[in-house]
């Protein structure tokens, strides 16, 4: 099994005719993702390889039954694209785009919440349920099916962990990059609950970092979960008040430091690894 996306996910790609859109659409299709449609306003009627392109998501959904969207359009247009996906009835929206103004995300966040739509991102690598479906830009070769759920605010660290797990013969149920922005649609807490409800996820690896309180929010609910969680927090050496690459990775108060987050996890019995290697070992040992 898996969470959020699986074999039944039918994907529409918004921005499919762009350079990035084409590249990742092909990767996803190659991986076996059911990419049923693309959308580029004004290019309706064309095809991207075998994928039909529509002017609107509504049309794409009507014609192809798409139920999830990947948004890969420039920041100035990305939130409108998300709202379009929600309006058209997509139940999962994966927003890859980086550099979206935070106040635009406020509207998208609350619109998704009200509509019961799972929004992943922005500024994220996407989601993959190995062997079933990939929506995003993750390098797919490293993933294999298995019992470990992975959730992370960092793309590359996800790959590191997954690579480590796979090399040690341990596969993944679903891997999610929740994104590096201050305002993200799906947080650690949401994902931990989903993983806990998935019978095939036997352990969860969580990769947090400085900034915000999402790690603390997650720690708060961990005592109610049965699936073991192993954590790593990046940014212990980050100087305060400086954005570390991710818009959301900034030490701006007590709770936003790596130490505070590690402390929060340890306080609820979650082992916190010092290195990614250690994190992999912990997860491998537990399954």
């Amino acid at each position: 099994m898996s969470i959020i996306v699986d074999k039944n996910t039918k994907v529409v790609i918004q921005g499919i005719t762009g350079r990035e859109g084409q590249f990742h659409a092909r990767q996803m299709i190659e991986y076996g993702t059911n990419v049923v449609a693309g959308v580029t306003p004004g290019k309706g009627g064309q095809k991207m390889d075998d994928v039909p392109v529509f002017n609107t998501v509504a049309e794409a959904v009507k014609e192809t039954g798409a139920n999830a969207s990947m948004v890969l359009v420039p920041a100035a247009f990305a939130t409108d694209a998300c709202l379009e996906a929600v309006d058209a009835g997509c139940k999962v929206v994966v927003l890859i785009t980086e550099g979206i103004p935070q106040q635009d995300m406020i509207e998208v966040y609350h619109t998704c919440k009200e509509a019961g739509v799972t929004l992943i991102g922005p500024n994220c690598p996407g989601i993959i349920s190995p062997g079933q479906c990939k929506i995003g830009i993750l390098p797919q070769d490293i993933f294999v099916e298995g019992p470990v759920g992975v959730v992370s605010r960092s793309g590359t660290l996800t790959y590191e962990v997954v690579d480590g797990l796979t090399r040690k013969g341990v596969g993944q149920s679903t891997c999610i990059g929740v994104g590096g922005d201050p305002i993200i649609g799906t947080t650690f807490k949401d994902v931990l609950v989903d993983f806990d409800n998935d019978p095939e996820t036997k352990a969860v690896v969580l990769i947090g970092e400085i900034g915000g309180l999402d790690e603390q929010d997650a720690a708060e609910i961990i005592k109610d979960l049965k699936t073991p969680v192993f954590a790593f927090i990046g940014g212990r050496t980050a100087p305060p008040g400086k954005r570390m690459g991710h818009a959301g990775a900034i030490v701006s108060g007590k709770g936003s430091t790596a130490d505070a987050k590690m402390e929060a996890f340890r306080a609820v019995g979650v082992p916190v690894a010092d290195t990614i290697g250690e994190l992999v070992d912990m997860a491998v040992a537990s399954v």
């Binding site: 106040q103 960092s154 793309g155 590191e160 990769i207 570390m244 990775a249």
Partner: protein, 385 residues
């Protein structure tokens, strides 16, 4: 991004938020002229992007224009937490009856803006919230409903604002929220907002942070943006479009792809380095980096005289390791490599990358553990020399 007080003042004026008279001086003579113009006493305030200017001696009162000259002389050129003061703001001193705090910020957790006010201003707002929570008012702004004057008045009266101040502060906050949405501010604080003895309500000091992702649609901010960097290497790095943060007291240059990986690499160098090896910077080449960017990155990191060795850690996804390797070779073409550089490549095309680096002056390794071992070895050598 942050902006200096006097720029914040300009923005406030544009949005109809009352501020006292004030002008910028860059020389003691100008400060004296302004003191004459406004009439004394005047306040002389250092224009630098650091908190706690007052305590650090960056804010002074001058009783007459000679004193204005003298105090401005003291402040201009002063080193405030590493920043040299180049400008002061000269403002006529106002007679303050009472101080308040008002602010609007983006609440990451609730994903909405929050208005925060306190009838005890001029002090640390977090302390007020802890010790006298009844003096604090908050409104989380529902994006669909917006922000209304009546809610603000209710909150302000509730937090103990004097009636005439409450009514004016409600108007100020309404206009402030317009500014927040127009200009993509992630934080704006007026501290203190004051009631003067002659009944005016004025924003005396302000702090504004802007959401960097919104700068593309606020062209007037692009101009101010440049002035934020003060470290020469950061200025150079940002001019080259790099995501670079310089750390004090570090000796190991760090380059990687992905913010998380770079932070983790820094942390690991620090941990394994046991005080001998310390990260000197954060540099994220991002996803899908081309050779040119890698070249730029290495050049910038090497330009830091504190850097005694460099660790490059790349996990290829969209980023191809062979591209990274090519960029590295280009970067050192024709130049001497002043310090040892260890390169760990993994993921997409790592083998090709490794092959490209073979026989070069870079030291290739296969894991971060191996890389930090090398680094610690080198730094130990250096420190024992």
């Amino acid at each position: 991004m942050k902006i200096q007080e006097h720029h914040a003042r300009d923005i406030f004026q544009k949005y109809g938020i009352p501020v006292p008279d004030a002008e910028v001086a860059t020389t003691p003579d100008e400060a004296r002229e302004l003191a004459d113009k406004f009439g004394c006493p005047v306040i002389i305030k250092a224009q630098v992007l650091v908190g706690g200017r007052g305590k650090a001696g960056g804010v002074k009162l001058a009783k007459d224009s000679d004193e204005a000259f003298e105090k401005a002389s003291q402040i201009l050129g002063m080193d405030l937490k590493g920043l040299i003061v180049e400008k002061v703001l000269v403002a006529p001193a106002v007679d303050i009856d009472k101080e308040y705090y008002i602010g609007i910020t983006l609440d990451r957790d609730r994903k909405q803006h929050v208005v925060i006010v306190s009838s005890a201003g001029g002090v640390n707002i977090e302390e007020v919230a802890e010790k006298t929570p009844e003096k604090i008012g908050k409104i989380w702004i529902d994006p669909a409903y917006g922000l209304h004057s009546f809610e603000l008045r209710k909150m302000l009266f509730g937090a103990g604002f004097e009636p005439k101040v409450a009514i004016k502060a409600a108007g100020i906050l309404k206009r402030l929220f317009t500014a927040v949405t127009h200009m993509d501010m992630s934080l704006v604080e007026i501290n203190p907002l004051v009631l003067t003895t002659d009944g005016q309500v004025l924003a005396i000091d302000a702090k504004i942070n802007f959401d960097d992702s919104g700068i593309y649609r606020n062209p007037e901010l692009k101009v101010l943006k440049e002035s934020e960097d003060t470290d020469p290497i950061e200025i150079e790095a940002h001019a080259r479009g790099l995501t670079y943060v310089r750390l004090t007291d570090g000796n190991v240059g760090i380059i990687g792809n992905g913010a998380g990986l770079v932070m983790a690499t820094m942390d690991e160098v620090n941990r394994a380095g046991r005080g001998i090896a310390k990260p000197a910077n954060f540099l994220d080449i991002g996803g899908g980096a081309q050779a040119e960017l890698v070249k730029n990155s290495l050049e910038v990191v090497l330009s830091d005289p504190n850097v005694k060795s460099v660790l490059i850690n790349v996990f290829g996804g969209i980023t191809r390791c062979d591209e990274v390797a090519k960029g590295l070779l280009e970067a050192i073409e024709g130049i001497e490599l002043p310090v040892p550089v260890v390169v760990r490549l993994a993921g997409t095309n790592w083998e090709e990358g490794k092959k490209i680096l073979e026989g070069s002056r870079f030291t290739p390794v296969e894991s971060l553990e191996e890389a930090t071992e090398k680094i610690v070895g080198w730094m130990t050598e250096k420190s024992s020399v």
